[in-house]
Symmetry: D2
Subunit: 340 residues, 4 copies
């Protein structure tokens, strides 16, 4: 089959012929119907410092996927050929303290699809049974494949209840946009979004932001006006930019919540007394998806009307993956989906 | 002024002339724009056993209200003449353990507007400053006056997060209908409603129930089909009927939540091992509104699009209060609003 | 080897010769050092209605155990021969909604050691790897084998924090006594215990109850005096007696917590408005142990000084199991331990 | 009466004659039996930059106090002359969002005793009724006056349950020492304490630390050995030192909790991905005491045996306050108590 892979330790990716995968006893073979590009894939594509340390070529990339089960290993019991599934990308150990106490999303020994084993940028991919997530047939393939990153946002937004609360989302890349959509569906009273790209602010409004602005052009004090002078109940940092981190700490109200999801490139000096202590806030580090609470919540949110379609701005055949990475380079896209 | 009151210890209510109220230092005078009928008022109207014990005539009834502030006492600082407000009906002591630890809704010494002091079935009513709730001007008077009972439902639904979860509501009287609307706005994945009245099941569908049925006519097993065989995450008992209580315990999933709000007339035999223990569920007794979390959440839910208009089925001038009680007698109404 | 078993469908148990067990790939063989009697074993011994429905003879009993690993199956990785372990008695499916969302203690498909497969009333028992719990060597065998029932009490007490709170424990059988010891170690401010047996009330005082009394002889109003007129923050019902259930609901304070663990024999009429709703309390159904939070907490409580030794009132060689059941018949014991 | 006060805008404090205070209607006069020195008092004594901005002389200092009520204003109902009370030092507004939603400890408008109004370094002090805390007679005056700072530690430790959990406390000044004592009483499984002062590490061991070490002399990796390689469930930062903040983030386990209470002097660069996000931890900013939960918990912890006596290392007559500040200068003390 054809697969998009990091063939050797250098920038770029290549479309190569590789053997079709064969399932182990506790695995299935997924015929990939849609797979989407993640910022992580972009790091690997560019072959930055992080990628050079983390990736051992050759490796087929891709960890956001949806498809149909084409074959099952001997001990598989919960799915069968023809089932349509997405996949949790973190393969957890099941034996560490975190796995044994309901916190498998921070398993000490997890591996990642498309990074530690071959991924979904191909016609077929082998997957452990335990990462599969049966997905309602009504959800189209190009949305279903995005459940993995969407799950990050569900995890972030619903760490605590947002219904009737005010929410700030800093950063309107795909996970920020997803967070807006989730907060909208969950009944947030106001959703304020910030980004420096007008293109992305437009998407934010489409997804349900009640106020979306560029903090380099408009004084963020507008947040106070928009919240009766209170600041927000919940601030979700989805960008990784230092100024956005400070914006969250500044405009969250006393006793409020900040969720940190975006990955800053370097340490950020935090004024701990004024940004955290005297405000009496809670700060949550958000990584992955709660296994499998987040996936169940996500299925329920779709039934409640969650609409993430505007986030998919581009769809290409698998072999045109290069176009997708170009768009990410220029931040002129929401989510890019590849069809094998 | 004219006021609808229990003039003496007998069934019925009377429209009488009473002196206009004068505010104490920490009180305001509200000019009532709209006030709604509660089941409690109906008990007092019928003068049942509970009412005979609880009420000391003469008493002006009415504890669900909205209006404009007409005068303020000397020490009042948070509102002024012309402000439009609703009122929390429970006047709490501020000094008991519950009040001092964030649980004033179960204050040991609270009194109730329209029961322990004169209420809102009149042109004017005096109110302590601390029960006032400023209400956004966009909300029409006949909806704004219902925030008190709506708050009961907000309290019940949002005891825990429902976004993406399945919800069962037993009993589609006004608080059940409000619960459906709140769960819908908060992004519940499915909302199943039960009642024995076709009229009310129709209202339930209008407010957002995804399945509404009469359990005397349709086998409640349909709940399992509607929830992938799992039962519901949350069951809200809003009727007080024994069969509805058992329905909640039966169809809540293991590790789920039951909220009890409806008032049964007599003790109900509970099969504690099978209905509670082996299921590992949580049961919450729900009374009043969390002070003032519930009111803030409620304001946010309105901004999120909460629509309770279909619950107001009838509006009458104050003096036609008798028509309202007749409708309640026959369960042929949602909420009845009186305009002084 | 010798094993104590229900050989046929009739009252009593027999000591019989059975073949030594052999481990499957994911199992170990435990050499049992100590195993204790549970109320459930007593039901099976007496062969009551429940037992007749639930048990399929022949079956070796015993689900509270501690020992040394004598052999391991091929795929076992987390323990090795010589390790000293106790066992979680519930073997969960790992695939149902509850197992996948951190609530495996209410797994829809679990099986139980000593009930659905042969148990620990024998020299050896085979066990799935995933139920094993490595136990600190300092803990003597006759205490270590009781971690399973002790875990029930840890689960009940620590559903919410008790440090600095007042606690009521109704029923001073072994799990009630364990609950007292756990609440004491966790820093409960006052621990009030009730039972009808003077013998057990004496044990309750030994384990840390600050007030222990027989509610048939002393007016329970003493609870109010002992709690500044407030009632208790947390009431733990460990007996299953209707009067004890009502005692919990009566003396828990408004906004407090009731945990139900004791199994009543028949439905109990509950005055839902006065016992639950108007008090605004939370009721938790408690079953099993949280997997594996409860076990980790338990290990920490031992390090914090948890002392359950007074609960072990009798120790016999395995073949004298009959003496243990006689003691349980007459409620003249705490916990009975058997040494194979 | 004699009072220790900041008489003018310059370093130091003076003992001066001032008029006896007279209570307003909602106030009482406390005859001070014991009052203790806080780090804040030391800042004011030294007249550092913060103090110069915050304090408007003349001002009687002192916000940690205990005494007997000598007189009461007209509207006071909850205490009477002769009652023995401590005082919450934060006088909250009761009207802001935080006050109305159970988070008065982060009131937007609070004032502080001994800073914004005259405090307890005197024979008498006037206090609003609502800050009073009746204290059990068994607790000696020199311990009872420390309930205010002890409450900070109760708040920090019990933000979440520590029973059976492992706890790290960085910084063994008074609030760190209190935190150790509270965690010990609440049944923490292990309590690890760090400080750079051998004197304070000795106090830490006396109060219940199971491991106390100087991280400048001993490799903190010892924390891993002491926690089965897991790190701690809860890390409490009580020092404000950058290295201690990083120690907390480094040794808290994935999905664990960090509480920040110590006030750093300058922003601290935080490696947000590795210290917070990928660990999936919660960070709580801790300020003040939860009103009045913390005080009730504290009373219960005393009943459970909380022993903070070793923290009081020095007691002086009021006029010898200078000796106390000298000791603080050299970090050669736990808590210093003054007796007026």
């Amino acid at each position: 089959m054809k697969a998009v892979m990091k063939a050797c330790a250098a920038p770029g990716l290549e479309l190569r012929d590789v053997p079709d995968p064969v399932p182990a006893d506790d695995e299935v073979i997924l015929e990939v119907k849609a797979t989407s590009l993640c910022g992580t894939d972009h790091h690997i594509y560019r072959w930055d410092e992080w990628a050079q340390k983390r990736i051992r070529p050759p490796r087929v990339l891709g960890h956001e996927m949806y498809g149909e089960i084409a074959a099952t290993g001997r001990s598989v019991t919960t799915v069968r050929t023809g089932d349509r599934v997405a996949a949790e990308s973190h393969v957890t150990c099941g034996k560490c303290f975190q796995c044994r106490t309901g916190n498998a999303h921070v398993c000490k020994n997890y591996t990642i699809l498309g990074i530690d084993r071959d991924g979904s940028f191909a016609r077929y991919v082998s997957l452990p049974e335990k990462v599969l997530w049966k997905t309602a047939d009504e959800i189209p393939a190009e949305l279903a494949c995005m459940q993995e990153p969407l799950g990050n946002s569900v995890h972030a937004v619903l760490t605590e209840d947002v219904s009737g609360h005010t929410v700030l989302v800093t950063g309107c890349g795909p996970t920020g946009l997803f967070a807006i959509a989730v907060a909208r569906t969950a009944g947030a009273g106001s959703i304020i979004a910030t980004d420096v790209s007008d293109y992305r602010l437009g998407l934010a409004r489409q997804l349900g932001a009640t106020l979306a602005f560029n903090p380099e052009k408009i004084d963020p004090k507008i947040i106070e006006e928009h919240t009766d002078g209170q600041g927000v109940d919940t601030a979700l940092e989805m960008s990784g930019h230092p100024s956005a981190v400070h914006l969250c700490f500044r405009y969250v109200k006393n006793a409020g919540r900040v969720c940190l999801f975006g990955i800053p490139r370097a340490p950020i000096p935090i004024d701990i007394p004024n940004e955290i202590i005297f405000k009496g806030i809670r700060v949550h580090g958000i990584t992955g998806r709660r296994l499998f609470d987040t996936w169940y919540r996500l299925a329920g949110l779709f039934r409640a009307g969650l609409d993430i379609r505007p986030v998919v701005t581009h769809t290409f055949p698998l072999q045109e993956f290069g176009k997708g990475f170009d768009l990410i380079d220029h931040a002129q896209c929401g989510k890019v989906v590849l069809i094998p």
